[in-house]
Amino acid sequence: MTDALDRATSVLVLGGTSEIALATVRALRSPALRRVVLAARPSPERDAAVAALTAEGVAGVSAVDFDAAGTTTHDALLAEAFAGGDVDVVLVAFGVLGDQQEFEDDPDLAVEAAQVNYVGGVSVCLRAARLLRAQGHGTLVVLSSVAGERARRSNFVYGSTKAGLDSLASGLADALHGSGAHVLVVRPGFVRTGMTAHLEPAPLSVTAEEVAGAVVAGLRRGSTVVYVPAAMRVVMSGLRHLPRTVFRRLPI
């Protein structure tokens, strides 16, 4: 149970090596936090994440094997995580950005990305929502993206997977209303992490820590949607209303 001072006691991360997710765990760190489960594919990065958080004094950090595309394994994985005690925050942070041109050249790659970002998202979000409803409290935090708000020429395959995930999460927020469980949809703009290291930072770019701060603030306020940076909300509202002919020619 998240306590009266908004301190989570238990966090489950799906995509446990994501930079944004790890920054969020650090931001949620408190004497009340006593269990952190990093669900991710086995890798040296995963081991390093467990070791680093533990060394920083985060209590009860462990890792479990998780592949977002392996949807048939998700039921058992989530059930086990919840069997270990109530989960206050489920953070859905996995995702692949991919390369738009490669997706267009080889649609199989696009399908793979969709399997991870969207199909994997559908799988874990619906299952986690059911478990949160059953415990009568807790929040599902879903890392969406402003890329899902309006498809852009430069990354519409990725954008479409995030659009699907975002719709799913927004619908779940309504479905869970009154259940004691909540959904927080996070829509960052350009975040300077490993995922975007090969790209030139876009205007209004932020750090993983800034996204983490916005997630924690959103949890505290009980928000349904947060944009990071907050100014992105206005920018996106403007972009959504641009005529297609103009939007298509924007260098974004």
Partner: protein
């Protein structure tokens, strides 16, 4: 009870009095003790908990995803010839008070609100302004009926058997985790009139206040100090001590009238989008309260209700703190830890935590036989704070360490933010309590959000 079947199991979002940390449970309203037993034996995976009037501040009376029993139907009150009262666990103390007063009796112990249930009062082993004289409510229980998770009703007569006493004692302060209390027989005390004779002393700082409170010449049945939680520096801990005793007919010299207004308060607070209680308004309130108290006054006659239950006059006053809610930090420390009281007031003043209500009391000896009963001999301080105050979490964590180092503990009925280790360190009997629970509840049926959060 005219509840239709559809009303018998209703999903509800529940919080404590502090209006923080909601969780959803299915609220079931059993009509009989038999129904209570059936609810326990047929518990689902998220377990069962009895909820009283929801006056505990944090998550003690909620059970997210599980079942919560409301024993409002078990509320009969009967005064016996010997002055004892037998009451259903769902009865409110406000149901008992008029019955007792009509017979010249009063509750042996009462918390600062009469809108709590008998079951909730016993489960928290509540204390009143008379703890230094009369102990906690557990010291006045003659019998308790308790339904354990196996569905068995135990009639626990005090002194009946060692095993029975062990279960009875663990239930006093046991926060609903040993079973469902369905009924209790309590001793009462004489109250020949519905009036209290009150002496008031105003103290300009904490030293003066604490000296007055330990002065044997000022020993009365009731003693409580309101402390100005917004005063700093030289004025830190200034407060108003009220000392009281039930008035004899002579002392009340024939005064009549309704000392206890019936039932529902006339004034109420509606749900508010933001809290009107800023730091300035709270400081102003404290200033006025302090100024209006006489430096010293003896023999004032005060009605039972305004004396014991001043806050009950305003319905839903907990909404004044706005949607973010508030918490109450209450600890007890032995006399050797008296300085923790000062450091707490200093620390909360330093982070600018405005407190509307800070209450300092003396405790007499506690109940060592009851592993989770709160009182220990010495001091207890209770401070209300809005949860939105920056730096509050850290300040309270550090104060916890101070309380523990002094040999003190926190009150579970008020807690909404402690960590398991703090409770385990403050309650050395916790291991015994857990052992008893695993005997009577091997399936872990009895659970609350509090018990999960604090690993009780």
């Amino acid at each position: 009870m005219s509840s239709k079947p559809a009303d018998l199991a209703v999903p509800e979002l529940l919080t404590g009095w502090g209006r923080t940390m909601p969780s959803r449970a299915v609220v079931v309203r059993p009509a009989t003790v038999h129904d209570v037993a059936a609810a326990l034996t047929s518990a689902g995976p998220r377990g069962v908990l009895v909820r009283g009037a929801g006056r505990s501040y944090g998550d003690a009376a909620q059970n997210g995803g599980g079942t919560v029993l409301d024993l409002g139907a078990l509320a009969d009150v009967e005064l016996l010839d010997d002055g004892d009262v037998v009451a259903g666990a769902g009865a409110l103390l406000s149901d008992l008070v008029p019955v007792l007063l009509a017979a010249g009796r009063f509750l042996p112990v009462t918390p600062g609100t009469r809108f709590v249930t008998v079951g909730g009062a016993l489960a928290a082993d509540v204390h009143g302004k008379n703890h230094h004289v009369d102990g906690s409510i557990g010291d006045h229980v003659r019998r308790m009926d308790l339904v354990t998770p196996d569905g068995v009703t135990h009639v626990l007569e005090r002194g009946g058997s060692p095993a029975g006493d062990r279960l009875l004692d663990a239930t006093l302060g046991g926060m609903g985790l040993t079973g469902a209390i369905t009924s209790a027989r309590l001793a009462t005390i004489p109250a020949p009139t519905p009036w209290v004779v009150v002496d008031t002393r105003r103290a300009d700082d904490l030293d003066v206040l604490m000296a007055l409170m330990t002065d044997p010449a000022e020993r009365h049945r009731y003693s409580v100090a309101w402390v100005d939680g917004t005063a700093r520096g030289r004025r830190l801990g200034r407060g108003v001590l009220t000392l009281g005793d039930h008035a004899s007919p002579e002392a009340a010299h024939g005064r009549t009238g309704r000392a206890v207004p019936a039932g529902v308060p006339r004034v109420g607070v509606p749900p508010l989008p933001v809290s009107p209680l800023g730091r300035a308004s709270i400081a102003a309130f404290n200033e006025v309260w302090f100024r209006k108290a006489p430096r010293s006054r003896d023999g004032e006659l005060v009605g039972i209700a305004p004396y014991f239950y001043p806050l009950d006059a305003v319905g839903g006053w907990n909404r004044l703190y706005g949607p973010r809610g508030f918490l109450q930090y209450q600890f007890a420390v032995p006399d050797s830890g008296a300085e923790v009281v000062r450091r707490t007031l200093e620390r909360l003043a330093a982070i600018g935590a405005p407190s509307f209500l800070s209450v300092l009391k003396r405790f007499g000896p506690g109940r060592p036989a009851s592993p989770l009963s709160f009182p220990i001999e010495g001091w207890t301080l209770a401070v209300d704070v809005p949860t939105s105050v920056p730096g509050l979490a850290r300040a309270l964590d550090e104060l916890d360490d101070d309380v523990l180092a002094a040999g003190g503990r926190l009150y579970l009925a008020k807690d909404s933010r402690a960590v398991p280790a703090t409770i385990a360190a403050g309650y050395p009997g916790l291991a015994d309590f857990r052992a008893l629970r695993s005997e009577i509840d091997p399936r872990g049926v009895l659970v609350s959000d509090l018990s999960r959060r604090l690993q009780l």
